[in-house]
């Protein structure tokens, strides 16, 4: 039996862990948004909306970059808290 980590964490470490969760989820959200055009863009719609589609993709893209930039600062600042990584990875 491996020893469990502490049940309650300090607020700061708790935030840090959720930030890592968010960092892992970001590409999933991005993939969802990038694949969304498949739903509305099949050939049936005859409307000429390539410019709008393009604008949508670029806006999502830029949004991802901004969120990633904001999170990179937080993740980089408090890297390497002892023990957190191994505990999670081994599960």
């Amino acid at each position: 039996m491996r020893p469990r980590g502490p049940v309650f964490l300090a607020r700061r470490s708790y935030r840090l862990r959720r930030m890592r969760d968010a960092a892992r989820l970001l590409p999933v959200a991005g993939a969802f948004l990038f694949l969304l055009p498949i739903l509305w863009a099949p050939a049936e719609t005859e409307a000429r909306d390539t410019a709008v589609d393009g604008a949508y993709l670029f806006v999502v893209w830029f949004g991802l970059i901004v969120v990633a930039a904001l999170m990179a600062r937080g993740l980089g600042a408090q890297e390497e808290e002892p023990g957190t990584e191994g505990g999670e990875g081994r599960g």
Partner: protein, 899 residues
């Protein structure tokens, strides 16, 4: 735009790149390259993802298939935004295991299996060669545009010679800056700096053309949007399978392409840079693709039907009379092509040399004679590999004749390298992944890729006969390359991607589940999957005390170079609590040495070399227990015990050494007293005897003069001995007066050589010196320093037992210190005596007593201590070798401070 002007601009640009790389290397050598190793430069170097295929081809792609070109950038964006998943782990593994290439990483993960290294190298070379050819084609095409102004056709004057010049120039650049040295971790500052500059050039070029198109040719974004919806581009249909498939494919390619792996993992100098790159690199991609559709739309509107849309970036500015802008665009495309080719050929050459040439050499080498410098061999094989890779690229280009088949090769190549994805991701996330599984997956994936995509890409009848396309091989319908298992109507690329990766993953998983890994594989699996565990259980792959440290040092010197190897051994010895250059061959030391060597020649070769010296890797039952143990508790407990035991061992070793030294000192003190009385007595006795004879008188003519001469000589010897003793005592007390001034090292050495020539003048010594390196001005006490030099040179003259004696004097500057090595080609000093030679009255053999009292080296040591320096014996140099180290500028008498 005159063609000659273009060539001139091109040459100027190339010279500029050489200069950038050269200056960057120079600055890095002097340790002032902090800005060269910044997150910005790292991000810019990643931009080799955008090759000429994306620079020119994206516009053509957009003109033909609308927004689909974006998938090529969206995949990498997702990978970078999600760096916490994969990239972070890859970079950490790359740094801890000193990975040199993607082949090295996969080979290292699966038990340092060289067979896997060879498979991956083969896949990479096959997939990348056409890609290099594509870059050569893009440069020749863009030259062609300028060569024939007014026509926008594919007419190119003498394509092959242009491509040959470009390939030759690239080979020269890559060999110059890519193989300057065997860096311990394979980093190339000069190349990275040049690549970063090229990244800026191509971004500026494309954005400038884009701004010109949107705001000068058209009337701003609104007008462009209207033009887009009115143009043929708006007719594109999103094909869901291609949209999702290509996004996935580009995401896979960005981590498996050898050149991307090179800049992403191997050239990474700081893990924190990845955080910046996670958003900055997607931003770069966004900027690169923002103006693609506008340029395509305007090009379609402006240029005659049938103009090649792949060259719109050049032809649109040209058609508006903007020669300068077209020139900038040309340089952008040129940058994209050259940077890709440079990095790709470095990455491929490293793999070919480490996984094919080196293992072959290790096996075929005559007997065990480790002769010659391995470093030169490795560098040479790397240079040849670079030339061979570029030669292959050129050959492919020349043979395929720059056909349209090349244009599609970008994505085909992506599918090829994507075959490494299962083995790679499985290797870093799943401990159960085995070598058998990885090899099976890679091979099956490669074969399916070649059969369904690569070979058919040459066209029906070129390699695969037409009949195979229509009816399948031997008439087996369900084996048709474009419709495996009767799946028809699928896009050929997606068809190949789907089947190759499905078979690959299945073979990888099933092979791993059914096979049983070797101990090294399991250890490496543990190290890779749990790379973030700080308390990583170090598997002891090596038995204790089997290897002779001196032979390890000799081998390391051949691979790492003299200086780095000595520094590394010194550090390791210090970590073990030992003085000198020879650490105990403990398992931890062997593992560290193996990692160090792996940085130069790859994991598999390094493992083979050490196992040759240390005996086979003996994994004990104890080790297996540790690998098999998966509970964190026991691992933690044992690692605690481990660290305590290491601590104890270190202390014990230090105590043992101290004790040994004390015992020796006590013996020496007794010996010193008896020696000194002996040394004083011998001349005293003869003085007394001869003076007694003379007192008796009545001697024949001439005898008194002769006896007086003997008495005089003996008195001088006595004085010299007392002088030496006095000198030593003054030096040891630190009360010596130093006469500090500036002195030229070269002149000092001249002087010392002249003075020492009086010792055994009949011997003819060959002296090797490096005069340029000696041109150093030292602030020190020149007379005292010369005393040390004279002593060392005279010793060499006295004791070097070679028939043709040679003395090598090597001068180096390291930090603020000067190192002077005196190395002769005699039989050297046996290991058990090396610790004693600096003690008083230490003479190695009594037969060779050559007049001195055995105080010379002891005095040297004290002099050097007074000069703030050291004198040490250097083992493993093929003769007796002494290193004198001193500060470049001695400020105050250091001993007086310390006292």
């Amino acid at each position: 735009m005159p063609f000659n002007l273009l060539v001139l601009a091109c040459l100027t640009y190339v010279i500029f790149l050489f200069l950038v790389a050269f200056l960057a290397e120079r600055r890095a050598e002097r340790g002032r390259a902090r800005w060269l190793r910044s997150p910005l430069v790292y991000t810019l170097s990643l931009s080799i993802y955008c090759t000429a295929w994306t620079f020119y081809g994206a516009v053509g792609y957009a003109a033909r298939s609308g927004l689909e070109y974006l998938t090529i950038y969206l995949g990498p964006t997702l990978v970078f935004v999600g760096w916490w998943w994969v990239l972070r782990k890859l970079v950490r593994i790359g740094r801890t295991e000193r990975v040199t290439s993607i082949a090295d990483m996969i080979s290292s993960r699966y038990g340092k299996s060289n067979a896997l290294g060879v498979i991956v190298t083969m896949i990479c070379v096959v997939a990348a060669t056409p890609y290099i050819a594509l870059q050569l084609q893009s440069v020749t095409l863009s030259f062609g545009v300028f060569a024939q102004p007014g026509t926008y056709a594919w007419m190119i004057p003498d394509t092959n010679s242009t491509a040959l010049w470009v390939a030759g120039g690239l080979a020269l650049f890559t060999i110059l800056f890519g193989t300057r040295n065997l860096d311990a971790n394979e980093q190339h500052t000069g190349v990275v700096a040049a690549i970063a500059v090229e990244a800026v050039v191509k971004l500026v070029a494309l954005v400038t053309v884009g701004i010109f198109v949107v705001w000068v040719v058209a009337d701003g974004p609104v007008d462009i949007a209207a033009r887009i919806n009115a143009s043929a581009i708006a007719d594109w249909d999103l094909v869901p399978s291609r949209w999702a498939g290509l996004t996935f494919l580009s995401a896979a390619a960005v981590i498996t392409l050898p050149r991307m792996f090179q800049v992403l993992v191997v050239e990474n100098s700081d893990e924190r840079f990845l955080g910046t790159a996670s958003w900055a690199f997607p931003l770069y991609l966004l900027a690169m693709s923002l103006f693609v559709v506008p340029i395509a739309v305007v090009g379609l509107g402006l240029l005659p039907v049938g103009a090649n849309p792949d060259l719109f970036v050049l032809t649109v500015p040209l058609s508006q009379g903007q020669g300068g802008l077209a020139m900038l665009a040309f340089l952008g495309g040129f940058s994209s092509a050259t940077s890709m080719v440079i990095v790709a050929s470095i990455a491929l050459a490293t793999m070919v040399s480490n996984h094919i040439v080196m293992p072959l050499w290790l096996r075929l080498r005559p007997a065990k004679s480790v002769s010659g410098d391995v470093r030169r061999l490795v560098l040479m094989s790397r240079r040849l590999s670079i030339a061979a890779v570029l030669g292959l690229g050129y050959l492919y280009f020349a043979l395929s004749g720059g056909s349209a088949a090349l244009a599609a090769i970008g994505l085909i190549s992506f599918v090829g390298v994507a075959q490494m994805l299962p083995a790679m991701l499985g290797g870093i996330f799943w401990r159960g992944a085995t070598r058998i599984g990885a090899a099976a997956g890679l091979l099956i994936g490669f074969v399916v890729w070649a059969y369904t995509l690569f070979l058919p890409s040459f066209g029906p009848g070129a390699i695969l006969p037409l009949d195979v396309f229509l009816n399948g091989p031997f008439g087996i319908g369900w084996l048709r390359p474009r419709a495996l298992f009767g799946v028809e109507g699928m896009d050929p690329l997606i068809h190949a991607l789907f089947w190759s990766l499905s078979f690959n993953t299945a073979a990888f998983t099933i092979g791993s589940l059914l096979s049983f890994p070797t101990p090294i594989e399991r250890a490496q699996g543990l190290a890779f999957v749990y790379v973030f565990d700080t308390e990583r259980a170090e598997l002891r792959g090596w038995g204790d005390g089997l290897a002779e440290p001196e032979s390890l040092l000799i081998m390391a010197q051949r691979i790492l170079g003299d200086e780095p190897a000595l520094t590394f051994f010194e550090e390791q010895a210090r970590a073990q609590g030992k003085a000198g250059y020879l650490p105990d061959p403990s398992p931890a030391f062997l593992a560290a040495l193996e990692r160090q060597l792996a940085g130069s020649v790859g994991a598999a070769a390094a493992h083979a070399m050490i196992s040759e010296l240390a005996g086979r890797a003996r994994v004990t039952v104890d080790d297996l227990m540790r690998v098999a143990d998966e509970t964190a508790q026991i691992m933690e407990y044992s690692s605690q015990l481990e660290s305590q035991r290491a601590e104890l061992e270190r202390t014990a070793r230090q105590l043992r050494e101290a004790n040994e030294k004390l015992t020796q000192l006590s013996v020496q003190k007794d010996a010193f007293l008896s020696q000194i009385s002996h040394e004083l007595r011998t001349p005293m006795t003869s003085i007394r005897a001869f003076s007694e004879i003379m007192m008796e008188g009545g001697m024949p003519e001439g005898m008194p003069e002769k006896y007086a001469g003997i008495i005089h000589e003996e008195a001088i010897r006595l004085t010299r001995l007392l002088d030496d003793l006095l000198d030593l005592s003054v030096l040891e007390n630190g009360t010596v007066q130093l006469d500090l001034k500036l002195a030229n090292l070269s002149e000092l050495l001249d002087r010392s050589l002249r003075a020492a020539a009086q010792t055994r003048p009949e011997r003819d010594f060959l002296i090797h010196r490096d005069l340029p390196a000696e041109a150093i001005f030292l602030r020190t006490d020149p007379d005292r320093l010369a005393q040390v030099f004279i002593n060392l040179i005279s010793n060499s003259r006295k004791y070097c037992d070679a028939t043709r004696p040679e003395l090598r004097i090597v001068v180096r500057q390291r930090g603020g210190r000067v190192l002077v090595d005196f190395i002769d080609n005699g039989s050297g000093i046996p290991k058990d005596k090396q610790a004693l030679i600096f003690e008083k009255f230490a003479r190695l053999t009594d037969q060779t007593r050559a007049g001195g009292a055995g105080l010379g080296l002891a005095i040297c040591r004290e002099v050097m201590a007074n000069l703030g320096g050291t004198i040490t014996y250097l083992p493993g140099q093929g003769g007796a070798a002494f290193r004198v180290s001193m500060p470049l500028r001695l400020e105050k008498p250091p001993l007086a401070e310390a006292a």
